[in-house]
Structure formats: C-alpha cells, structure tokens
Assembly symmetry: D3
Homo-oligomer: 240 residues x 6
C-alpha cells in the first residue's frame, strides 16, 4: 500500500525524523511517501499556525492523489477533517492515533506537549473525539517545537519532568508524546518510566495500515461528503 | 468604534446582505466595514470549505489591522480562533453570537442550517463552546447556501418546515438561524412562529459592541497568545 | 431604553456601587434604574440567602413593570429564571453575563468569589448554562460580601492572591470576579495581571443593551411561559 | 422518629393525599407531620411558582424546628437546598428520591410530569444531581397539577399514554411519576405496564427513614453550612 | 423481611464485620443473612479479582433464592448487574449506596479507598451511575483490603490522612469510605472531622429496606430482563 | 506474531466464523489461535451471561499464556479489563475495536446489535471508553445471537432494516455491527447502503497487529497492574 505521511509544517528536518519513525514500524509492503508543504509556518503552535498551514496542506494533497491512506503528522491533527473530504482512503492524525492507542492499553493517559498555547486546541480535539474522559491532563513543557531539533537534551529533560509529574500527581498509567518532533524519544522514556510512552507517528502509521487491511475507507456520507469535483481538485481559487 | 465584518466566502451578494443586517442594528457611532476575501470558496459548506477559506481570511485580516472589533459572518465561526491571535479587540463569530444570545432568552434552542454536511462542524462548535447542553438539535434544510440568494421563497419554506419540527418534536423555545445568508428572514419567521428566531449577524454586531463598551479585549494569555510580530503580520509565507 | 438593575440584597451601599458601574458603561440613551428590595438578606451567600431573597425580588419586579430589560446584580443569578416569566424584555444575571463574555475573549476562565459556601451554587449555574467546560475553577477568597465594603484593601489582597493561583495552577487566561461588590476592582486587577478581569455588572448592562438592540425578548414559550395574569402580577398571596 | 412532610403549595387537598401516601409506607415508629404554607402559589408549575413559594416554605420550617428529617413533597424539589441549611437532619425532595430509587432498580428511567413549562426545571435538577445519564426523557402530559384532583380519570389516561410512549419510543424500563399529586396512581400503573412506576412521596419517606437509621445528617460543611443563628431563625426580615 | 448480605470475597472475618455493621442499623423485623462464596479471591482489588469472583457469587445467589432484597458488600459493586437478572427484589451494592446517600446530605463527596488499582473501576461506576458530577475525587490509601484487619491502626492513620487531604484540597463536604472492611471506622472518623463519613454497608442495608418498604422491585424489563429459567438457575454449565 | 482470538461463549460454530473473519484480514506472519471456553453460556446476551462467562474466559487465558496479543470476540468486550491484568501484550475487544475504527472514518456512527437487553451494557462501554459522543444510537434487532446462525436470512433483513433507520432517523454515516456473529455480513451491507459497515472482529485483529507493530503493551501501572504471581496464574481457587 502507498501511505502518504504529511508533515504540515515546512521544516524538512522534521519530515525526515517523521519518515524515519514511520518506516521503522511500517509493514514490508508499505511505501511511505513523506513530504511537507512549500508554504506555511515552520512549526505549528496554536490556532494561528493551524490556519496558516491549511493552504499548503491542501496543495500537498493535490500533488498526491493516488495513495491508499494518509497520515497527518502534526499532533493537533491539522486539516484531518478537510483531507477526509478529499481522499477516499483513511486519513489519520497522529494526535488521535496516540489517543486511541493509549485507551486500548491503559485506563488513564496524560499528554506531554510543547507550548502552553497549544494545549486548548488539543483539549478541544480530545473533547471532539470523545476521548477526554480517558485523559488525565495535557501538560505543556514550554519547549518550542523547533527546539526539539536544536536543543534535544534540554527538551528531553523538560519532557521527562512533566512525565514524572503526570504519573505522581495525575495517576497517569500511560503517556502520549504531544508532538511529531518527539518521535525519537518514546522508547527511551518508556524504559525510564516503566510504562507506555506513546509516539503518535508510529501509531498513526500502523493504525492506517490496520484500517486499510480491514477494508475500511472514509465514509462518503455525512460531514466528509465531498462536494463537486471542482471543490476536490481546486482547493483554493481566486474569486471572479 | 470601527467594526470589521468579514464574510469569509467570496460571494459579494452575501457580503451586501450581511452589511445591511449589521447596519440595521449597529449603534450610531459604529462604523461597519464589511468585506470578503479575494480567494477561497464561494460558500462555506463543511470542513473542506473551512480549510479552503483560511488563506483568504488571513489576508483580509492583514488589510484591516486597525479596527476595534471583528465579526466573522459565517455560521461555523470559520477562523475565529486564528483571528483572535491576530487582533487585539474582540473577535466574534455569528454562530457563537446566536448561541449565546439564545441561552439568555430561552432554555432550549434549535439550530436550522443549510446542508447536512455542515451539521457535525456546528455540533463540534456547540460542544467546544460548552453550549451543547442548551441546544435541542441542529437541523439541516438541505438548502445550499447560495440558493438562499437564488431561490429565496423555496428556501424559506424549507426553513419554516424545520422550525415547525424543532418546536413540535424537540420542544425548542427559540430558533437560531444557521447561516449568514438567512439574515433577512428572522423577523418574519419570529412573527410567524411566536417565539424568538435569532439571526447571528445581528447578535454578533451588538455583542461585539457590548464587549467593547465593557472595555474587554481578547486575552493575550493562553491559546490566543500571539507569536512573534512576524507571525502576526505575515500570515503565510513561502518556505525557504 | 429603560434598564432595571436590581441588587437582590437590602444593602443600599452595594446598590450605589452597582449603579456607578452600570452607568459607567451604559449607552447615552440608556436610563439605569438601580434599586433593591425592602425585605430579605443583607447579602446573598449561599442557598438559604437565595431563598430568603425571592419575595423581595418579586416585589421589586412588581414595582417596575415598565422597563426594556432587567439586570440581576447578584453573581449567583438569584431569581433570573423567575423574572424571565414576569418581564417581556431580556433578563440577565451578572454571573451568566460574566461567563458569556469570558468565553468570547478567552479559552479558559476562572471565577474568584467570596465564601466557599457559595461555590456549589455557582458550579450548578455553570453546568446549567453549559459553560462549565470553559471554566477551570471557582475559587473562594473567604471574604464575606459585606467586607468588600468594610475592609476593601484586605479583600483586594485576598482576591489578587486567588487570581494569581488561578493563573499559575489552573492556566486561566481570563478571570471573572464573582460578586457584584467587586465591580470597582476589575480594571486595576486586569492591569496588574495582564489579562482580562471581568466584572459581571458591566457585562450584564452592555449585553442587555445588545439583546435589546438586536430586537430580542425572552421566549414566551417553554419554561418562561407566563401563567395567568394573576400569577404575573400578584407574586405571592395569602392562601384562602 | 418525627418526619416533617411539607407540601410547598397551599392546596390542602394535596397535603392530605401526600400524607396518606407517606403514612402507607412509613415505619410504625415514624410520626408523619404533614403540612403546607399559609402563603404562596396553589400549585408549583415552573420557575415563577418556585420563587413565589420560598417565603411560605421557610415559615413552615420555622414552625417545625424539632424534627428528625424533612421531605419536600414537590417534584421539582423546591427549596431543598435552602432547607438543608436550616435543618440538621436529612432533607429529601420527592424528585430526587424518585430518581435515586429508579437508578437502583432499573437502567434507564423516564419521568412523566404535568406541564411542559416544568420540564426544563426538572432537567436542570437531573443534571445537578448527576442522574441525567440514567433518564431517557422527561415527558409532559399537559395536565395541570390541580386537574389531578378535579379530573382524575382524564389525567390518568394522559399519564398512561405518555408512559406507553416512554416505553416504546425511549426504551424506559422504569417510570418516575413527576408530581406529588400522582401519589395514588403508581401501583395501578405499575400493574398495567408490568414495570416499576415510582412515586416520589413514598420513596422520599422511606429514604429519609433509611438515612436517619444509618445515622446520617446533612453535612455542616460546604454549601449547606448555616450562617449565623439569626439567618437560621429569621428567614426574611425587613431591611433597616 | 429477609435481606441477603453477600461478601463477594472468601474472607470470613470480613463477612463477620459486615454482618455486625448490617445488624447495627437494620430494622427489628429484618433478618440479615450474611454469607460469602466458597471459591474466589480472598479480597477484591481491581478488575482481575472482580472477574475471579463472579462464579462464586452466582453460586451464593443460587443457594439463597428466597430473599426480599440483596446487598453486595464489596465497594466496586461486583456482580450487582448480574444479580439483578437473578433476583426479583432490589439488589444494591455498597458503593452505589454510599454514593446515593452522600448526594442527599452533601454537595460534593470524596471517596477514600484501598489500592490505586481499584480506583479506575470505581470511577467507571461513578460515571455509569451518573454520580461522577458530585464526586470530587477517589483517593487511594495504598492500604490493601486485608490489612484493614491485620493492621487496623496503621490503616486508620492512612485513611484519616486522605480524608484530611480531600477536605482541604478538594473541598469535599462528605466522605464515602471505599471498602466494606472500613465499616467499623465511619463513626469515629465523622466525629474527628466534623462532617459525614459514610459507610456503604450501613447505607445499603437501610436503602434496601427503604426500597422494599416502598414496594419496589428490580425492573423485569430492559437490561435486567431474565433469560430462560435455565439461565437463572444454572449459572455456569459445562458446554456440550 | 501469535494472536489469541477468544470467543467467550461455548458455541463452536461461532468460533469458526470468527476465525474465518480473523484470518481473512490478518498479516501473512500472524498466527490466529481461535478458541472458546469449555464452560459458560452458549451466547452472551446481557449482564448475567457476562458474569457466567468469566470463569471459562480466565481458564482459556491460563491455557494460552504465550501469545503476543489477544482479541476478545464478544461485542460487549467481556472480560477485557480482567485479561489486561493477565497478559503482557495488548488485549482488544471487538466492541471497542469497531468503535475506534468508526471514529477514524466517520463523524457519527450507529451500532446495530442483537437483543434489547444487551443495549445498556454497550452504552455503558461507550461511556467508559469516552466514545459515546460519537455514537448516535445503539439499536436492537431483537435477533438472538444464535439465530444469526440458524436463521441468517431473517436476521440479515432485520439488521438491514435497523441500518436504514439509523441512517434516515439518526444521520449515522457509518454502522458498527454489534455482534461477533455478524462478521460475515459487513461487506454486503456496506455495498448495499453505500457507507462503511464495520465488523469488530476484523478491526480488532488489525488493530491488535497495529499495536504490536508499534511496540505497545498493556500498561503495567494503574488499573491493569497485576497482583501476585498466584493471582495471575490461578484465576479462581477454593477458599481455605
């Protein structure tokens, strides 16, 4: 199967890290097509960046019409609902993938993410997906997304500190790492804390494969019903 | 005060209708600046159109930096969260304005909107705002947004039919009209049904005036914290 | 327009403070009629005081049948539902006004109120309005209502201390002051903490003006349906 | 034990019916003191009547300081929170009693009550008690409270019709009768429909006995913390 | 009446303590039949023990077909739903009994239980019953069930410490003790902390008596509808 | 990987059907071990059958200690929480698998199951998993589980009828089939109705493979923390 993995920001180093994580867990027969938009924010931190990334994301989708499933590798699941109107195959965000995986192996999970200003958007998502009941808290590390690349050791220290607090204060029994840029940390942190530390990229890739294997596609009815052919293929046109 | 009223789709006839509704209720001292984007969808019906409208919406915001408050005249409150990161003054969507007004004059309201594919997005909003508890149902008329302009009589018949059902089946004691394009219908329908029929444009304009009069601005903390000056002024740039 | 602002307790000094706050923000054409009952509790702190205030509140309503809108200037929105059965125009409590305003300018607000015994009633209201989802917590200062008049400096210190805790511990990005007697503190506290500090009286007055300007009245259907003429005009009669 | 059963309206025929239902199930050693206020509404139907009944209710409480427990025999649990601030022993409303009993013998109950304008208040209560999850719906019969006395056959037909609908449409497996004036109907309707039909008066009396037998009193902490002695004994005084 | 009180674990010393608590509050005419299974776990701590106890519990039920009501004396209400399919009379778990009682005498209760691994199951129950809204938190003491018998003083110290925290940190105004093995502690702790400390065994016994006195039985419709006679009488048979 | 697929009832024909569905979608390298208990109910319909199946389920678990993941092929996810305390690898119920899959490809799903008495248990699960928000309703067909084998045509007619109603009345945009015995119907019904019709067995198998591929195991902390070695290996012992 062909699996399109979109990093919705323009930072190519993050695309590379995401591709590595994806390929590590993908089935032998899965081709990972990892890419990012040409325009838009360098990282997605909060509501403004989400809005600024939509145009580039739709253009990426237009360049890759022929895939079996799509993973959106941004933890706030930027554009997932819109892409479900465009693609026939399953479209999964790494945020929801991490949340769903967590609820199948633990009773109460915590999320450890980057900046405080991203937290309300993640809490909105948890409510929309219905999974807020299972989440004991979304914790910000105050580490900007790009510092995960530039200052990895300091970032890991801050992340570990919030994981420790989620376990002792909130009784979390699993942790979901709240940024695609943390996709290389989960194994080490899981060993350190002795409980599941979940990376959304890994989960989204394997869940996408699972849905395809189960023969499932996005519903053509309801909210994801596509519009006219023109709407699907010309994401954003100049007004007459 | 200067009040920017943005129609987030590119249909100028709708902007004109929205401007009329806004000016009908605005205070004498309020200047209504009604506009729409140059690019983007002709109407906003569902998740894909929301994504396609973001770029144009941010460009409109950039053209009008100097206003006291902003109204987003699309019932799914497209881009409201992002615009709150950009403007200092209050930013209000006509959806939330209608919902808030309804809860202050009735115990249970119904929403009557256009296409079924827009319903889940409105239900998401109601949940995010916390107001779902007060809403007895979101009903689709299957009237596309643009038919409100091209076939007004047929549209009004369909809308009235769903209002009647909301009253008899769901015990609604107020109705919120779920599209900016219905802003000329509420008075007539209220008289016909003998209970409040609420137009979001009207409410958003007067609520924006109210917040400004009360001296309130969008919180600079939390989710609406702006980023760098560059993020605020250059909504979407080509990647290096 | 004529706006009746009812202080539901019998302390005239609070009525004066409330009237000052109301007149500071009201439109030029709005006549503020500020009053209080002749009988009932001196302040409203908890469920027993709410019950004790109903009789006086209904008598105030009977004395002022001819107004365009009503503000109930007690933060637990005492009697608002009953008054909506009596008046045709909008009736708004300062608690709900503060909550609604907060949700339009911030993602998560905290309430800072007087005594702990008032907190469950406020939490009930937040749930009834549906806005509990947006409230990160209701904090008591243990300052009785009347001490806001008699020991203002000490009261402000306690209020500021709880605001600081709401920001640091609960990530509040706006504060709603939970008592009409705090209506002179919000501007100073907003400057001090750098985020919106919302006074309910101010918001209720401007929101009432907004609803009237938008042409809205309380729904005559559903829960606010009045009974017989006698019920409306003779609030409480001796049994035969 | 001495059990005060308050009918919060002024209709003595209803007090008599309530007393009969209470005495039918009370323990041998329980003295039932059934009474009603001298002033207030003749029946309690909606928010305005609730407000109008508070003064009389508090005066009844003052006349009977020396009881072990209190039942408030109005289905909207009028004044229960206030009375808990006044009495040391348990205070139980017949609405909550019926709801609690239903959840211990069935998975999903329906409420069948009198007028539609009482429904939102009951739904508020269900939410406040937390029991809304277990209630499949509150149905109005459009039978005014006093017609239960004056036209009993017609009333019973309407009630039976709504019970049938609750079973077939909402899958209710128990019914709670939503008015003290229906306290003589439950046994006959239970036999007719073959599932529990619950009368709140009966349940409130036996639950009050149960709490007393278990040695429980209302919490003196939190929301029910009494104020000064004066607040407890002088429910409503003229202002200075 | 004959009241079957089942301790669902195999520890006879706990059965004796439960029987003592039950007899202390039961009506004179109530015969308490206290028993426990022959097989199953020695204490019930978490999901695995719950599963391991089902077989023994069903066999106890088969030995005592002729009772008026049943109390399941394990705080996670083990097997209550299944037993409601078997017995005609009311079946009440001590967990739900404590929760219901608490909500009638306090606004917000806390639960203090044994091991952390039991907490998610209790939280599930609170959600299922709908009563989570009224619970400010479930706190684990890390005292295993059987240590309540073997090290009572140390256990009581830990329990008191968590009660103190629930009051100061979570504003609890009543405490529910979360284990049948704590049934001898509630009176002493209530005096110490000056608010209700509720034992589930005592409440379940008096609530069961109350439901029987009110003439209520488990609904024969819906989820508790029994199957064939064979299902009721032969809980678990070898497959053909 | 070795995947244990447990049919928790004793009907071998259902085990065979489940095994077929599982093998149809499993990866080439996955060994499906399909089995059922020796004792317990012939089908699981409601709370009593769930209790009766626990002993047999734990014995099956003891016979197969050496697997990488477990699927419980009963739609009410019988015993999943208990098995998570026993196995190290992921344990997934077919109910939760169907629900999670549905939320990733649709906005609102409906469940179509067998008997009405199973519905409350499924609704409890949806609440516990947090996914109730996304489910528009659980519909019973009144087809007993075993009639899916004995009267397949009649059963399919009834299922199709409820699917049609869920689409037209509840606006479902995906259907989850609520019984392992329906695992051969989903493809045909999906083609007939033009939207996803989801079989839980298929989803549980591919999701289990996904979690294993992502390197995830059940959390050893919190509710699934195992007890002593004895508890894990001796599911149910005679009491001393």
């Amino acid at each position: 199967m062909r699996l399109l993995v979109i990093n919705p920001n323009t930072t190519r180093a993050m695309t590379a890290k995401i591709a590595t994580a994806a390929r590590r867990v993908a089935r032998p027969g899965t081709e990972i097509i990892a890419t990012q938009p040409d325009i838009g924010p360098e990282s997605i931190q909060g509501f403004l960046d989400v809005a600024r990334s939509q145009q580039g994301l739709l253009e990426v989708a237009r360049r890759h019409p022929d895939v079996d499933a799509v993973v959106v590798a941004c933890f706030d699941d930027t554009g997932v609902d819109a892409l479900r109107c465009v693609f026939d195959g399953p479209v999964i965000g790494i945020g929801e993938a991490g949340f769903h995986a967590a609820t199948m192996i633990a009773t109460r999970f915590a999320v450890v993410t980057t900046l405080a200003r991203s937290v309300p958007g993640l809490e909105d998502n948890l409510d929309r997906y219905g999974l807020a009941r299972r989440c004991v808290g979304v914790r910000a590390t105050d580490v900007p997304v790009l510092e995960l690349e530039t200052h990895p050791a300091r970032a890991e220290t801050r992340i570990a500190s919030e994981i420790a607090a989620a376990i002792s204060e909130d009784r979390a029994d699993a942790i979901v790492l709240g940024c695609a840029g943390m996709a290389d940390l989960n194994d080490r942190l899981a060993r350190r804390f002795g409980l599941p530390v979940i990376d959304g990229v890994t989960c989204a890739v394997t869940l996408a494969e699972a849905l395809v294997a189960a023969g499932l596609k996005t519903s053509p009815a309801g909210a994801y019903a596509g519009g006219t052919e023109r709407e699907r293929t010309v994401p954003c046109v100049a007004a007459p």
